[in-house]
Amino acid sequence: MMVQRQREQAETHLLRAAQEFQKCMQCGKCRSVCPVFKEIGNELYVARGKNKLAEKIVSGDLQITSRVKDAINECLNCKTCSANCPAGVSPEHVVLRLRWYITTREGLGLFKALVFRQLLWRKWPIIAGAVFIGFVQRILLDIGPQNPVRHLFPLFGFSKRRNFPRLALRPAQSLYPEVIPSKKGTPVKRIGYFTGCAGNLIYTNVVKSVVDILTGYGYDVVIPKDQKCSGTPVLANGDYEGAANLMEHNFNLFRRYDLDAIVVSCSSCGLALKKEIKLFIDNCDELREFCDKIYDINEFLEKEVQFGPNDLGRLPYRVTYHDPCHLNRGQDVRKEPRSLLMKIPGLIFKEMQDAAVCCGSAGSYCLTHYETAIQINNHKIKNIQKEYVEYVATACPTCIMHIQDNLLQHHSGEKARFVVEILADSLRKAGTI
């Protein structure tokens, strides 16, 4: 019965992939925009080539070989091909469906299954693991980049060169009560906050910035304690069922709180809750209502909050901005973060070349395909360096992680930070929050 159901599910994935790739005119335009293809230079790795592979798999002329898997895994889900496709194909959906097809037939593999099931079932092992790593990092790695501990990295599949951000010793969610009251008396609105795992376990300062800004401007902030992974990494790795479970969980959870809006500070989580969730939950009024409530934090602040003339303190920063793919092409949010930065007095905003080109991070892609990921990122670093800035601001934790890693490897002094962190700096300086 189970086998039968899985087989049917796998066939559905293939069917959906076929519906998408059949629109491909094979013009080759994707060759001029795909960041992965630009580095590897083999047609097999460009959208058009993957569409052709999908076609051959559907027609039965090609089996799932290791090379097929390799090609399908070489995708950043940066959506540049979709944005530029003359025929309106979304090749990343072909890729996702094929990943789902493969894992439905072959399973996830022990390691991924273990991690993803944990995300699904309970949070504490992940949190405990993260905190443990946080301790170890402080004890072992603080000796510096020449640290011999680095020689152990390859055992875990990481490059020796790689710089990791420090994991938090206390998860951000544990620092707050579930409902954080407005600091301005009667709340204007009640805002849900989806922190994302990275916000909770790594970039806790971002959570603090978001909470401070929102409560400082009179909003109640609700961080539901039982929120789980948004499903993005699970989805990207082909775990269809896992993603569906997580999406459903968060959908049902946030609906239980009476919220006017839900803000997200991670571009990929935002995309998952705003759009990708529609792949898993049947189109209904409740879902539309839920999705309409989701805002990227930059989008929300720009739309909702009136920053008074004396609210923002002067920051003598030179800042450039990197567009995360899942915010720019994923959610059509590109003006808002720039506009927030430009509100800050004294801040000089420098637009960098190719700000919207993927940085190569793509979540777990930069763990599994580190060398290509760094090659892609090298272009980003060059463009950042050309602007002579102190900060490169962005709105996605994995972009920050990857850009910061490569900046350090280039011995380049710029720091990667979230837009809301810089905004909070300015608001704090003026004593507004």
Partner: protein, 464 residues
């Protein structure tokens, strides 16, 4: 392919320059046409010398070689129909020499057309041919197919800009033909035989292109018509007035509506056709030419005539044309894009004829294209899974080519013959014409190993 062959190839191309696994062969089995065939090996060249060695090897071992750029060709020119080796040239993308004083640039064949733009723009120059694939097609492929583009009317096509070529001949000899001089008559005029040769006579590895100064001023207008005939007649009249617009693009009602459904570009849904016209050059002459265009439009009872006041307005005007193909692609699951072309005075007849064919076979067709040079893109909107519709489309396409030939036009304005139009070439150039092509091919490539099976059937070849 034999193991010894692969070994010899890897001595020429080293390991990262050769592929032979099944999956990679699938990825190099097609271009933007509807035909595919998997090769036995794919090699990536980085130098002319490697290609010379490859052809010596192929000639010794009787292995077909199909050269390829980015695989954006629309006629099947780079599909390895006789299997063998696919030779990829997209890694040869160095700029070799930029000579603004003589308005010349020398590049390797794998450079894309739009890569040239920023280099030459620094000296206020531009390379005029601008095929729709300008951001991804290689210059070598453009030369092999004699690519056209939107500016063809005033500025001509690829063949008008090729000054010098470095070519590897089928047996492996390297020749440099042409000259950087404006005047040059030493030997036969050989450059044109390689331009549009579709990779049958030699492999172009380096090219010197002529450049022009960027026009100082542009005037752009959108003219809306109530009948197709008026629009088509207007094109002829504009030319008859002695005006040479730099661009004169045409869109019919089906295309307009497809565009509007796809993205609101301010195009009138109920208009039968629109023309997008641009003049360029010195400010006064560009403005003067546009005035004459308006007169020609008035003669043909246009509905409206709007002039762009600035760059932003101009971009808005052209946005619709730019996304026309995207928009049409979204109407039905598949499309067949043709490029039958006639002289400009026959444009009204051609447009009428296309509509009649579409009605006769009950097919949806969108017509857009470079009206100024008579190069139309009738686009059949179809569903490949509908076998009946596919049969009707085949007949319609055949009739379309017949129509173009009867109007003294050509079956291909810019896409080439390749595999897609091979069955129709004889109708246009006759059997003696085909014989001449074969004789020329035999002189260059007696074993028929370089891009075999394209354009025409070589006697004794196994292709059909």
């Amino acid at each position: 392919m034999k193991k010894s062959h692969l070994e010899e190839l890897s001595t020429i191309f080293e390991n990262d320059g050769i592929l032979h696994q099944q999956e990679d062969m699938i990825a190099y089995s097609y271009d933007a046409s509807h035909i595919e065939k998997t090769p036995e090996a794919v090699v990536f060249a980085t130098s002319t010398d490697q290609i010379c060695k490859l052809m010596q090897f192929a000639y010794r071992e009787d292995i077909p070689v199909t050269p390829r750029g980015q695989g954006s060709g629309l006629s099947g020119g780079s599909v390895p129909i006789e299997k063998g080796i696919v030779l990829v040239l997209d890694r040869m993308r160095k700029m070799l020499d930029f000579d603004p004083e003589n308005r010349l640039i020398t590049v390797e064949a794998g450079m894309t057309t739009s890569d040239i733009d920023p280099i030459v723009a620094s000296a206020d120059l531009f390379y005029p041919p601008d095929p729709g694939s300008v951001t991804f097609s290689t210059i070598g492929g453009n030369i092999a197919e004699n690519a056209g583009g939107l500016r063809g009317l005033k500025y001509g096509v690829t063949k008008d800009y090729v000054k010098m070529l470095k070519v590897v001949l089928p047996k492996g000899d390297i020749v440099t033909i042409g000259s950087k001089c404006v005047k040059h008559v030493a030997g036969f005029n050989l450059e044109p035989i390689f331009v549009g040769s579709e990779g049958l006579l030699g492999i172009i590895t380096e090219v010197t292109l002529a450049l022009l100064p960027i026009p100082k001023h542009r005037e752009s207008a959108l003219v809306v018509f109530n009948t197709l005939n008026d629009a088509a007649q207007c094109v002829s009249d504009i030319i008859a007035y002695g005006v040479t617009p730099s661009t004169m693009e045409f869109m019919d009602k089906t295309t307009i509506n497809a565009v509007q459904n796809f993205k609101d570009c301010n195009l009138p849904r109920d208009a039968e056709a629109v023309l997008l016209i641009e003049t360029d050059g010195e400010k006064n002459s560009a403005i003067g030419e546009m005035k004459n265009i308006k007169k020609a439009a008035e003669k043909n009872s246009f509905r409206s005539f709007s002039l762009a006041g600035n760059t932003k307005e101009r971009d808005l005007l052209f946005e619709g044309r730019r996304i026309a193909l995207n928009a049409l692609a979204n109407v039905k699951p598949n499309l067949i894009l043709e490029d039958a072309t006639v002289v400009r005075s026959k444009l009204p007849d051609m447009v009428r004829g296309i509509c009649e064919i579409a009605t006769k076979y009950n097919l949806m067709v969108g017509i857009f294209g470079h009206a100024g040079d008579g190069n139309l893109h009738p686009t059949f909107l179809i569903d490949k899974n509908d076998t009946d519709e596919m049969k009707r489309t085949e007949k319609a396409v055949k009739e379309l080519f017949r129509l173009a030939i009867d109007l003294e036009g050509t079956i291909s304005g810019e896409h080439g013959i390749g595999l897609e139009k091979k069955p129709f070439l004889e109708d246009q150039i006759g059997s003696a014409g085909i014989q001449l092509l074969c004789d020329i091919k035999r002189t260059f490539d007696p074993k028929n190993l370089l891009n075999p099976g394209k354009m025409f059937d070589f006697p004794n070849s196994t292709s059909n």
